[in-house]
């Protein structure tokens, strides 16, 4: 017969894995846990901590988060894949999100996207430029429709971006 295996126990996947939840990050997580009556509620904040520390969230990281919060890796993966801001693979040093939903679209947002793809050298949506510095994606509504076109570069929210402004922005973040 098959044996019950504790699904929460991550399987070893090589030894070069650097756990995220150590030292200060672990302390921050403990602080976050005080805000909620369940450990599971700290899942989104914990994933943010992983992304902050590592840039993206690998399957192994999901297993670590699961272990720390008493969840299963599969459960964590289901949640990670629901939220579009969690990266499931590495992205460029500068991650550009251009809103192209209708209110911005009608104001020329797709031209802004094209300008970013061209000036960053990323070429294709979601692809990272050869120098590893840029990844450009289209996103759905950033909630700043009156300031078309809003663009998120990493954590910087930039309003009223036009194709003409793009070269300057690309230089600034380089």
């Amino acid at each position: 017969m098959t044996k019950v295996r504790d699904a929460t126990a991550p399987r070893p996947q090589g030894t070069d894995y650097q756990p995220v939840f150590v030292g200060q990050t672990l302390e921050r997580l403990h602080q976050i846990l005080t805000r909620y009556p369940t450990k599971q509620a700290a899942l989104l904040p914990a994933l943010w901590l992983v992304q902050e520390a590592h840039g993206w969230i690998s399957d192994r990281h999901m297993a670590e988060v699961a272990e720390v919060l008493g969840l299963t890796p599969a459960y964590v993966k289901g949640v990670v894949t629901f939220y579009t801001m969690y990266h499931q693979h590495p992205v460029g040093k500068n991650f550009v999100q251009v809103c192209t939903t209708s209110p911005c679209n009608v104001c020329g947002a797709e031209d802004v996207v094209r300008a970013f793809l061209e000036h960053t050298g990323a070429k294709d949506l979601g692809a990272t430029s050869p120098d590893g510095r840029w990844t450009v994606i289209e996103v759905e509504c950033l909630g700043a429709c009156g300031f078309a076109t809003p663009v998120l570069i990493n954590d910087d929210f930039i309003e009223s971006v036009t194709p003409e402004r793009v070269p300057e922005l690309v230089r600034k973040y380089g």
């Binding site: 805000r35 909620y36 009556p37 369940t38 599971q40 509620a41 700290a42 899942l43 989104l44 904040p45 994933l47 943010w48 919060l69 969840l71 289901g78 949640v79 629901f82 939220y83 579009t84 801001m85 969690y86 999100q97 192209t100 939903t101 209708s102 209110p103 679209n105 009608v106 104001c107 797709e110 996207v113 289209e138 996103v139 759905e140 509504c141 950033l142 909630g143 700043a144 429709c145 009156g146 300031f147 078309a148 998120l152 954590d155 910087d156 929210f157 309003e159």
Partner: protein, 426 residues
């Protein structure tokens, strides 16, 4: 960063009064402006009395549904047997809407004060402010304001926490938001149970929109009668409302006017009309989820819950999306359908499959491969997607499609008949 416009004389800046004043963001600056007086006043009131006052004011939820706020609060158990929670919905993500963002980043304490008062009214000891993940700047502002207010000991035993979303439109739906706080996929829950019976962590919960709560301190301070008196048309719609005007208009931005304000005046006077050489074609008045209005309809619409309903649309969140005569409505409707297809949580069949199929049909029409029967198919599909799912995301996808085909059928037919050059959808 700067607030783009000085209030127009026809505006009634209550919530937006301090937009643009950087000093208003600090605790000191807020107190200097009379901040937290309403909270101090509310602390002397019985919870039921606060609820009664808000009921009396006629304040209705500003997130989209327009449910009477005081009534919602009154659904919470009077006798507290378990923890009560307040959720603040700062997941503003309805296309066309960007009013909460301004409240968060200019007047964080206005929201915190409203949050504290509401928490007292519903006897909640914990409030979570759920801020969408993309709102990096509002998050930073709120975090600092909360820290300052806490240092000043403003809230007593009440705990207020910020919770960051991670990219999901549907988390603006109230039960999806609760699931998201609980560390789950942001799936809307079947109701009943309603949040007041079993909400966040299964406990009695009230959830309010940012703008709704921002209005509460003003009502406490200046009275229900004052608020209720602000009404230009239907007495069922009271107070001021922030309208986020965007799209193809001369001066987009947030405009605060009294309920019942004519949409025509908002567009042509406050927003400076169309861009040079352009004429108005269509308006979506309440965020992307509501039916489109034609120019004629828009120019005679009064902006309140009833005025919009009269035109077969909804006030929604007050996100006014403007299209001028250069807009390709087929393309824009496709783009909206694509938005909903992207954001569907995947639970309900009609939504998961219907939003995606709708998008595909629209893309094909744009590509010049549409068939005359596609329009009936879209309408039939939309009917199948309306009123049949857990939440209204699928209805929201259907609304612009149905109203678009009904009111601008010729634009679709031009593509189908080959009278218009096909466009490749990006």
């Amino acid at each position: 960063m700067g607030y783009p416009h000085k209030p127009h004389p026809k505006e009634t800046p209550v919530l937006s009064r301090y937009f643009g004043e950087a000093d208003a963001r600090s605790y000191k600056g807020w107190v200097k402006r009379g901040g937290y007086e309403a909270w101090e006043q509310a602390r002397t009131m019985a919870p039921a009395a606060i609820t009664e006052l808000v009921k009396e004011s006629g304040l209705r939820g500003r997130g989209g549904a327009g449910f009477p706020t005081g009534l919602k609060w009154s659904f919470m158990p009077r006798e507290k047997k378990a923890p009560h929670y307040l959720c603040v919905n700062a997941d503003e993500s309805e296309p066309g809407t960007f009013k909460d963002r301004e409240i968060l980043r200019w007047t964080p304490h206005q929201l915190l004060e409203g949050t504290a008062i509401a928490a007292r009214a519903i006897q909640a000891e914990v409030a979570y402010i759920y801020i969408r993940g993309e709102f990096t700047e509002p998050w930073a502002v709120m975090e600092q304001a909360l820290a300052e207010a806490e240092r000043a000991g403003v809230f007593g035993d009440l705990k207020i926490y910020l919770h960051r979303g991670a990219g999901a439109y549907i988390c603006g739906e109230e039960t999806a938001l609760m699931n998201s706080i609980e560390g789950k996929r942001g799936n809307p829950r079947i109701k009943p149970p309603f949040p007041a019976a079993a909400g966040l962590f299964g406990m009695p919960t009230t959830i309010n929109n940012v703008e709704t709560l921002a209005a509460v301190p003003h009502i406490v301070k200046r009275g229900a009668a004052w608020y209720k008196a602000m009404s230009l048309a239907s007495p069922k719609s009271t107070g001021t409302k922030l309208f986020s005007v965007c799209g193809q208009v001369a001066k987009p931005g947030n405009y605060e006017v009294v309920m019942g304000f004519p949409l025509k005046d908002l567009l042509y006077e406050l927003c400076g009309g169309m861009r040079p050489g352009r004429t108005l074609k269509a308006v979506i008045p309440g965020g992307s989820s509501v039916p489109i209005l034609t120019r004629e309809e828009a120019e005679t619409t009064l902006l309140d819950y009833e005025g919009c309903a009269e035109k077969g649309t909804m006030l929604g969140s007050g996100g006014v999306i403007v299209f001028d005569d250069s807009a390709d409505l087929v393309y824009q409707i496709m783009r909206l359908a694509q938005f909903y297809a992207h954001e569907s949580c995947a639970q309900c069949t009609q939504c998961r499959e219907g939003t995606a199929w709708t998008t595909k049909i629209l893309r094909r029409i744009l590509a010049g491969q549409g068939k005359p029967s596609d329009l009936d198919l879209l309408l039939d599909l939309a009917d199948n997607m309306t009123g049949k799912t857990i939440c209204v995301l699928s209805d929201s996808c259907a609304a612009p499609v149905v109203s678009g085909i009904k009111k601008f059928r010729n634009e679709f037919e031009d593509y189908i008949a080959g009278r218009k050059r096909p466009v490749a959808a990006a």
